[in-house]
C-alpha cells in the first residue's frame, strides 16, 4: 500500500516537473515570439504609417485642399476685381518673382493677381509639406522621405530657373 502511494507520489511529482518545464518552455517561447513581434512592429513603425495613420493623413489633406481652394478663389477674385477697377483690364504679364514682394506691399493689383496665380500653384506643395510633417512626426520616415524627394524635384529646378531667369 505504502509502496503504491509512494509510486503515485513519485509519478505526480514527475508529471508536475514535466508540466512546469513545459509551461516554462511555452512561456519562454511566447516571450521570444512577443519580443520578435515587438521588434518587427518597431521596425515597421519607423518605416511606414499604419493604415489608420494614413487615413487620418488623408482627412487632413482633404481639409487642407478644400481650405486652399477657398483661399485661391478669394485671392483670385480680389486680385482680378482690384486690377479691373484700376485699369479696366487684366494684366498681360505676370510680375517677376524678384519684384513681387515689394510691389505687393505697395498695393499693386498686378502683383496681387500674380500672387493669386502663384497661390494656386502652391496648393499641392502645401499638401506635400503636410505629408512630410505628419509622417516625420509619426515616425514614418520612408513616406516622409518620398514626399521630400517629390518636393525637391517639384520645386528645386523651377525655382532655381525662376530666380536665374527673372
Amino acid at each position: 500500500m505504502n509502496e503504491g502511494v509512494s509510486r503515485r507520489a513519485i509519478a505526480r511529482a514527475f508529471c508536475v516537473t514535466i508540466a512546469r518545464r513545459e509551461a516554462f518552455g511555452l512561456l519562454a517561447e511566447h516571450s521570444v515570439a512577443r519580443q520578435e513581434a515587438s521588434t518587427r512592429r518597431t521596425s515597421d513603425d519607423t518605416t511606414r504609417c499604419d493604415e489608420e495613420a494614413l487615413g487620418h493623413l488623408s482627412d487632413r489633406l482633404a481639409r487642407l485642399y478644400r481650405f486652399w481652394l477657398a483661399i485661391v478663389l478669394v485671392v483670385l477674385a480680389v486680385g482680378t476685381a482690384l486690377d479691373l477697377i484700376e485699369d479696366r483690364q487684366l494684366e498681360t504679364q505676370t510680375v517677376p518673382l524678384s519684384g513681387l514682394v515689394s510691389r505687393l506691399t505697395a498695393g499693386d493689383p498686378a502683383a496681387l493677381e500674380t500672387a493669386a496665380l502663384l497661390v494656386v500653384t502652391l496648393g499641392p506643395v502645401a499638401g506635400l509639406v503636410l505629408i512630410i510633417a505628419s509622417c516625420a512626426r509619426s515616425g514614418d520616415r520612408r513616406t516622409a522621405l518620398l514626399a521630400l524627394t517629390v518636393l525637391v524635384v517639384v520645386a528645386a529646378l523651377p525655382v532655381a530657373h525662376s530666380f536665374a531667369g527673372r
Binding site: 518605416t47 511606414r48 493604415e51 494614413l54 487615413g55 493623413l57 488623408s58 482627412d59 489633406l61 482633404a62 485642399y65 478644400r66 486652399w68 481652394l69 485661391v72 478663389l73 483670385l76 486680385g79 482680378t80 486690377d83 483690364q89 487684366l90 494684366e91 498681360t92 504679364q93 505676370t94 518673382l97 498686378a110 493677381e113 500674380t114 493669386a116 496665380l117 502663384l118 494656386v120 500653384t121 502652391l122 496648393g123 499641392p124 506643395v125 499638401g127 506635400l128 505629408i131 520612408r142 513616406t143 518620398l146 514626399a147 524627394t149 517629390v150 524635384v153 517639384v154 520645386a155 529646378l157 523651377p158 525655382v159 530657373h161 525662376s162 531667369g165 527673372r166
Partner: protein, 280 residues
C-alpha cells in the same frame, strides 16, 4: 485683348471644364485647342493657362477622393517622382519647341485619347495577395460593391517608368495626364479603377506644379488668359460633375469623340500649314 475676348476665354473654359468633368478628362484637352485654333491665343500661353486650371481641378477633385480615403498616398508619391521629372522636361520643351510641333504633338495626343475613349477596355482585377516589398498596398471602401477593396500594386518599376511619359505629355501639353495615368495604373499595375482615378486626381495637381513654375519663369503665364481660364474651368467642373450623373454615358462619349476628332484634325491641319475655315 478686349473684354469680349476675355469673356470668350471664360465661357470656353467653363464649357471645357463641364465637358471634361463629365467624362473625367479634365478641361485642358478641349481648352488648349479651342483657345489656340479659334480664339487666337498663342498655343504656349494656352498650355500654361490650362496647366494652372489643372491644379485647381485637382485641388477640388482630390479633396473629395482624399476625404473618402481612396487615394493611395504612398503609391502616388512613388509615381510622382517620375511624373514630375517628366513634366518638368516637357515644360522646358514648351518654351523652345516650334508652335507647329506643339500643334502636331497635341493633335496626335488627342487622337490617342479618342482611341482610349473608343475602346471598351475591361477593368483589370486587383491582386490581393503576394509580396508587397515597397509597402504600397492600399484599401478603400467601395459603396457600389458594399465591401472594402484591397489591392497590391504590381510591376511598380515598369509603372513608374511609364509614368514619366505621362508626366512628359502633361508638361508639354498643359493637360493633367490622367487620361494616360488611370489606364496605366489599372492595366499595368492592377490598381482598381476607382483607386487609380482617385490617386491620379491627386497626382496631376502635384505633377504640373513644376511645369507651371517654369511657365511663369518663361513668361508664358498670362493673367489675361490664365485668370478667366482658371475661374471658368473651376465653375465648369462643378457643373459637369453634377450634370454627368444625369446624362447617358454612351451618347456623351460619342459626342465628345466627335468634338475631339474635329479639334485634333484642325490642329493637325494647322501644323501642316493648311488653312482651316474659322480657325486662326
Amino acid at each position: 485683348m478686349s473684354h469680349l475676348a476675355e469673356l470668350a476665354v471664360l465661357i470656353v473654359a467653363a464649357l471645357s471644364g463641364t465637358l471634361g468633368a463629365m467624362v473625367g478628362l479634365g478641361g485642358g484637352v478641349f481648352m488648349v485647342p479651342i483657345f489656340s485654333a479659334f480664339l487666337g491665343v498663342p498655343i504656349k500661353t494656352a498650355i500654361a493657362a490650362s496647366a494652372l486650371a489643372v491644379i485647381v481641378n485637382s485641388l477640388g477633385g482630390a479633396s473629395v477622393y482624399l476625404k473618402h480615403r481612396m487615394v493611395n498616398i504612398r503609391l502616388a508619391l512613388v509615381l510622382l517622382i517620375a511624373t514630375t521629372l517628366g513634366a518638368i522636361a516637357g515644360a522646358m520643351l514648351v518654351s523652345i519647341a516650334p508652335v507647329d510641333v506643339l500643334r502636331l504633338v497635341f493633335a496626335l495626343a488627342l487622337y490617342g485619347m479618342i482611341a482610349l475613349l473608343s475602346s471598351r477596355r475591361a477593368s483589370s482585377d486587383p491582386i490581393t495577395s503576394g509580396a508587397d516589398r515597397l509597402s504600397l498596398s492600399g484599401a478603400f471602401y467601395d459603396p457600389a460593391a458594399g465591401t472594402v477593396v484591397r489591392y497590391i500594386p504590381q510591376r511598380v518599376a515598369l509603372g513608374t517608368a511609364a509614368s514619366t511619359f505621362a508626366g512628359f505629355l502633361s508638361g508639354l501639353l498643359g493637360v493633367g495626364g490622367g487620361f494616360m495615368q488611370v489606364p496605366l495604373m489599372n492595366t499595368l499595375m492592377r490598381v482598381p479603377v476607382k483607386a487609380a482615378a482617385a490617386t491620379s486626381a491627386y497626382m496631376i495637381g502635384v505633377t504640373v506644379v513644376g511645369s507651371v513654375l517654369l511657365y511663369y519663369a518663361n513668361d508664358l503665364l498670362v493673367p489675361q488668359i490664365a485668370v478667366p481660364a482658371v475661374i471658368g474651368v473651376f465653375l465648369g467642373s462643378q457643373i459637369g460633375s453634377r450634370l454627368g450623373r444625369h446624362v447617358r454615358g454612351l451618347w456623351l462619349r460619342r459626342i465628345l469623340i466627335l468634338i475631339l476628332l474635329y479639334l485634333a484634325t484642325t490642329l493637325l491641319l494647322q501644323a501642316l500649314g493648311v488653312t482651316v475655315p474659322g480657325a486662326r
